[in-house]
């Protein structure tokens, strides 16, 4: 009888995830020509060309810088906010909602708002910098600042995600643990270091993995804020694949790129996958 329950999901997954992935893997061995409407088998040439392409490695480098710095700041800030909020206070729920707002907004709306604030001439950030006596910054049009500007935007939007996860697990730590530690003369730093941090470890690991997976695929923010530029200073792996697939219509080449990306993501999230299999076995 279970087939009644499972059929829709299994059919959808087969048609719209399993089949496309095989299709992508298959296409990656062809050179597809849309104008002549024909494809030629080229073996692993697409893969060889990508691996030799300096622009691809530039995209990998940008993606890694983006992932490491954004995720690191999100974890630190999110944890700090959560610890700050983990005490009795007036209007706690209201303040919590305010902190959550950034992650609820459509990423495109967020990117556009920040683009407006980053504008060189009329942007409010440059105005404020000037008021406190610092010079204007070419946020989005200089190679030194563009990636940083996008990272700041991502940190703004996704710190609340870490905040929410950490706050949930902080509230699950029994107060009695801290009380007995204080009776034995522990300082608040020791309480944090030897009670809070070890108990938060599983949550922080999960937050680290989920944020890594999500920042690794970043596309919307680059698309809106810089279009991958200036030059290709903010081009990420997804953007690189998008450019070949949907601007130049080198479908085979883009498919090969996306297969390489799948392999990279699986490598990065190896721990998460292992956990997934463990929970799958436990259920």
């Amino acid at each position: 009888m279970t087939w009644i329950f499972l059929t829709p999901t299994v059919v959808l997954f087969l048609l719209l995830t399993v089949y496309p992935l095989f299709y992508a893997a298959y296409t990656s061995f062809f050179r597809v020509d849309y104008i002549l409407d024909q494809s030629t088998f080229v073996g692993i040439q697409n893969y060889q060309r990508i691996i030799r392409d300096m622009n691809f490695w530039n995209a990998v480098k940008n993606t890694l810088i983006f992932v490491v710095s954004a995720v690191l700041f999100e974890l630190v800030l999110g944890t700090a906010f959560a610890i700050f909020f983990n005490k009795e206070m007036k209007y706690r729920k209201l303040f919590r909602t305010i902190v959550l707002i950034p992650m609820l907004l459509p990423p495109i709306t967020v990117a556009l708002t920040w683009k407006m604030m980053y504008a060189y001439d009329q942007g409010v950030l440059n105005y404020l910098l000037e008021v406190i006596g610092l010079g204007r910054i070419e946020w989005l049009s200089s190679t030194t600042w563009a990636l940083t500007a996008i990272i700041i935007t991502d940190i703004w939007q996704w710190t609340p995600f870490v905040f929410l996860m950490v706050l949930a697990s902080l509230q699950a730590i029994p107060e009695s643990l801290y009380q007995s530690a204080r009776v034995s003369g522990a300082t608040s730093w020791q309480c944090f270091r030897y009670i809070t941090l070890p108990l938060l470890k599983p949550t922080l690991t999960l937050a680290l993995l989920l944020r890594t997976i999500d920042t690794f695929r970043v596309f919307d923010k680059m698309y809106v804020l810089t279009g991958g530029g200036p030059g290709n200073a903010t081009e990420t792996i997804t953007f690189y694949i998008y450019r070949y697939g949907f601007r130049y219509f080198h479908t085979g080449y883009a498919a090969a790129g996306s297969i390489i990306m799948v392999i990279m993501v699986c490598g990065v999230s190896f721990l998460y996958i292992r956990r997934a299999f463990r929970t799958a076995n436990a259920k």
């Binding site: 997954f13 902190v99 609820l104 009329q122 697990s169 299999f277």
Partner: protein, 292 residues
């Protein structure tokens, strides 16, 4: 002796009073920082959406609209057909989230109650689809949708969003189903109900709040999605809100005013929904790994 102790005590009290005031000041300062940090960009968008064209481009930005006007909203609806765009987004998000919850609840029920061949594979695949980058699906799906003539239709987007929401929906719903005591279902089965009857008439009503939460969660995810929407849809009368907004600020055209107005409108359904289900949010985003 007693006098000195008295004075010592007083000194202590005064000191701790200052400490309390200092702590409170620090606390309020940090709180103010967090609130400004979280809200300023949203405020700035709202502020700009109410400014006229001149004020928009003044070299000294104004921190509140000196001559508030609704012209940006007016332009958005009158000249840019934004109402239709909102309708597209709402329709695609609504249909895909209802279907994701319908299919997801069936699958989640089987996964939480029955043992069957290939169960581990299915569970692992659900998690893997969450991990795989969307661009890996977009490229083959674009060709596949093209081959079956679905490109540039709402159906293509709806299908993509169902699949993209199913892993979240299934994982959230497994959590809700496993909170129901199984004894209720056993007694119904003893009375001769079929598994499907048990599911429809007994289990589903019990998880109604969970179904609602999951549906809203899927709605938000679809409403916010950008890449599929931009690639699958070309006709201006079918585009969704994020795609329409991104078209207002390009290399050739910068319409901060209407963009801000549209940005504010794009957040309203999300905020209304989410304030009602904050507590479920984390469960969905972490695939049930953290209970909020």
């Amino acid at each position: 002796m007693s006098i000195t102790r008295f004075e010592e005590n007083r000194l202590h009290q005064v000191e701790s009073k200052w400490k309390i005031i200092g702590n409170r000041g620090l606390f309020a300062g940090i709180m103010a920082f967090i609130v400004v940090w979280s809200l300023f960009p949203v405020y700035w968008m709202a502020n700009n959406s109410l400014k006229g064209r001149l004020e928009q481009f003044s070299s000294i930005p104004t921190f509140y609209p000196h001559a508030p006007t609704l012209e940006n909203y007016h332009r958005l609806f009158q000249e840019m057909g934004f109402l239709g765009t909102i309708g597209n987004s709402a329709m695609v998000a609504f249909v895909s989230s209802v279907l994701a919850v319908a299919f997801g609840s069936l699958a989640a029920y089987a996964l939480s109650r029955y043992q069957f061949k290939g169960k581990q594979v299915l569970l692992a695949w659900i998690l893997l689809t969450r991990i795989f980058p969307p661009v890996a699906f977009v490229i083959p799906l674009y060709s596949i949708m093209g081959n079956v003539g679905l490109l540039n239709t709402r159906i293509a987007l709806i299908l993509a969003y169902i699949v993209f929401n199913l892993p979240f929906a299934i994982w959230m719903l497994i959590g809700f189903f496993s909170e129901i005591p199984i004894e209720i279902e056993h007694s119904a089965q003893v009375d001769g109900a079929s598994p499907f009857q048990v599911f429809r008439q007994i289990v589903l009503p019990l998880v109604a709040p969970g179904l609602a939460a999951t549906a809203i969660f899927s709605f938000v995810m679809s409403w916010n999605e950008f890449m599929y929407a931009m690639i699958f849809i070309q006709s201006p009368d079918l585009v969704t809100v994020p795609v329409a907004l991104s078209g207002l600020v390009t290399e050739y055209l910068v319409l901060w005013g209407p963009m801000s107005a549209g940005g504010i409108l794009s957040t309203i359904p999300i905020l209304v929904f989410v304030i009602f289900l904050q507590d479920y949010l984390i469960k969905g985003l972490t695939l049930g790994a953290v209970k909020g």
